[in-house]
Amino acid sequence: MSFLDLLSMSASNLWRRKLRTCLTILGVIIGTASIVVMLSLGFGLKKSYMSEIENSGELTTINVYSGGNNYYYDEDGQTSNTDNEITDEVIEQFSQLEHVDFVSPILSCNIIFRQGVYRNDSYVTAMTTEAMVKKKLELASGTIPTSDEEIRFIFGNSSVQDFYNYKTNSYPYWDTGELPEIDFEGDFFVIYDTEAFYNSEYGTDSDTPVKPPKKYITGNNCLVAGDVEAYNSFSYGVYTNIDALKKQLKKVFKNKAIPGQPTTKSGKPYSYWVYEQAYVQVDDFNYVSEVQKQISEMGFQANSNAEYVESTQKQFNTIQMALGGIGSVALFVAAISIANTMMMSIYERTKEIGIIKVLGCSLGNIRSLFLIEAAFIGFIGGFLGLILSYGLSYILNTFLGGALGNAMDMGGGGSSGISYIPLWLSALALVFAVLVGIIAGFLPAMRAMRLSPLSAIKTE
């Protein structure tokens, strides 16, 4: 028999007993939908979690610190004790690693800002412009400072809290709840030599007064987008471009040692920069662990969210498996009902099967007829089940998603809901439903195939 004939014969046999077929299909619809919706909850959970981390740009970032394991093997096999400083050379090595998108050294130093009566004794973090862009720094106005311009600073949207009125000796934000009026885009007095400043301001152990350090005026600064309470990874603190800062520090300290930079025994500064930290950005989350391991093996301390995220993902997987397991009970029941329906229809059609056997229908064709019938039930049920799943998923997301999203404080604007059905899951569910039909129909089909043709001869 041609495949088309088999199909149309199976279909017409199903059509003959519409009600029973529909009820069996209904079972498959519920079974498929319950698995798909259950799994979609797991996927939704994972997706919103991942997109939240991704939004903060921290998913693929490795933070590298100097130190860590100080012992490593030289090329000649000797162990040596080095300080494993992060230098420009090391930064270059990191960026040569596979899957590394870019590397930014981090330079931090104490800087004091003053505007009017307000002062901010701050710890400035400097990195490359690229790093700030990739870490999704958004400004309220202005542009991110680059290497080529005069030094400018970026104030975190919460940094206004740190401004202190040195006339009244109070923090306006903390003490009165009022925000100090500061023009972030305007000029600041900037003091780089904080030690000298403190010594001149508060005196030293020796009685000789210290001359106050030079103040520099810096304009064109900018503010991170968002109000005081909003959180992002640039909310607190003050940031600037690393090259501009290096240039500025060299200018300020001339031949003296720059605070925070190591010196030789005689107190002379090094001829190169040493950073206490570096950002290593990996191109794909899946390679974070691998790159992190390589960096650790180079003798640096490397931290990332990878382990934490992976273990959370594993937890989500477990939850998802449990949900899917609950959902699959319904499909299992549907499979039994398919087998039952097929069995019933074989008992009803014993005579008919006998007749077509006498007329020369091959055993394989008889088996195919029943398998196709069962597969049809699986396919139609699976297809309608998917439609139902998408509907349920939509309802969950529109009516429950917002509420749950808020309750779980999943920021990120709630772009992804609690239920998410990946396309491959739909395809898989359909294939699975058809397979369940075929498996459920297998025994009945074998039975039909083995029925004796004599049942056609027997009269009543």
Binding site: M1, M9, V358, G360, C361, L363, S452, I457, T459
Partner: protein, 245 residues
């Protein structure tokens, strides 16, 4: 009528069939030997329970003999697997049932076309053939009727058409008129006989009715699983009745 020149289509040698029911042993067939030639119309006649159906079923490969040989068109069918038997029936055998056994969901032409679909013949071709076959048995008008919309005689004509459509070497018929009244029976018998003659087919028919058996060229009398006698029917009478040759 068996000419010396005609080839044997069916050869049965020393055929036995025993059924065991509990400790009892029913000897449904107890040593049967015969040969049927191509183009012959044979009837098997005997009382109820004499073993006629058992014999026919074994000839059609629906049951396995306990002992003995059945050679049809040169094939030893007693040794065939079920798969091969189905293929054998598909290629060589047509079957006419007592209770017609048309599929209730299909109309006449679809029923006739059914065996052709098992041979993988495209729908258009097989429906055309079936329709032609139905005209031959005089059911051109009723070809789109469902079995429930036809009389017994009409249904059995459809059955005959279905057996003939595959152009089989042999047609087996088990009490083909058993469910019909005597007038209709005679009509159907005439029809079968006519077509078998025209197309030089071999027909083996089982009946308990001596009158119906007398339509055949040869009559096999069977009793208690044994062949009593083979009666050659009067050839002249056959000739006159059919007005042929």
């Amino acid at each position: 009528m068996s000419d010396a020149t005609s080839k044997p289509v069916i050869q049965v040698k020393d055929l036995y069939k025993y059924y065991s029911i509990g400790e009892n042993r029913v000897k449904a067939l107890n040593g049967v030997d015969f040969t049927i030639n191509k183009g012959e119309f044979c009837s098997i006649v005997g009382t109820s329970g004499s073993g006629k159906s058992t014999l026919l079923n074994m000839l059609a490969g629906l049951e396995k003999p306990t002992k003995g040989q059945i050679i049809i068109s040169g094939h030893h069918i007693e040794r065939m697997s079920e798969n091969k038997l189905v293929k054998f029936r598909r290629e060589h055998v047509g079957f006419i049932f007592q209770s017609f056994n048309l599929l209730p969901t299909m109309n006449a032409v679809e029923n006739v076309a059914l065996p052709l679909s098992f041979r993988g013949i495209p729908k258009k071709v097989r429906l055309a053939k079936a329709s032609k076959m139905l005209s031959m048995v005089g059911l051109k008008k009723q070809q789109f009727h469902k079995p429930t919309q036809m009389s017994g005689g009409q249904q059995q004509r459809v059955g005959v058409a279905r057996a003939l459509v595959v152009q089989p070497d042999i047609i087996f018929a088990d009490e083909p008129t058993g469910n019909l009244d005597s007038n209709t029976s005679a009509e159907v018998m005439e029809l079968m006989k006519k077509i078998v003659r025209e197309q030089n087919l071999t027909l083996v028919m089982v009946t308990h009715d001596n009158h119906l058996a007398s339509f055949a060229d040869r009559i096999f009398h069977i009793k208690d699983g044994k062949l009593l006698k083979i009666e050659e029917n009067n050839r002249e009478e056959t000739k006159n009745e059919n007005e042929e040759i």
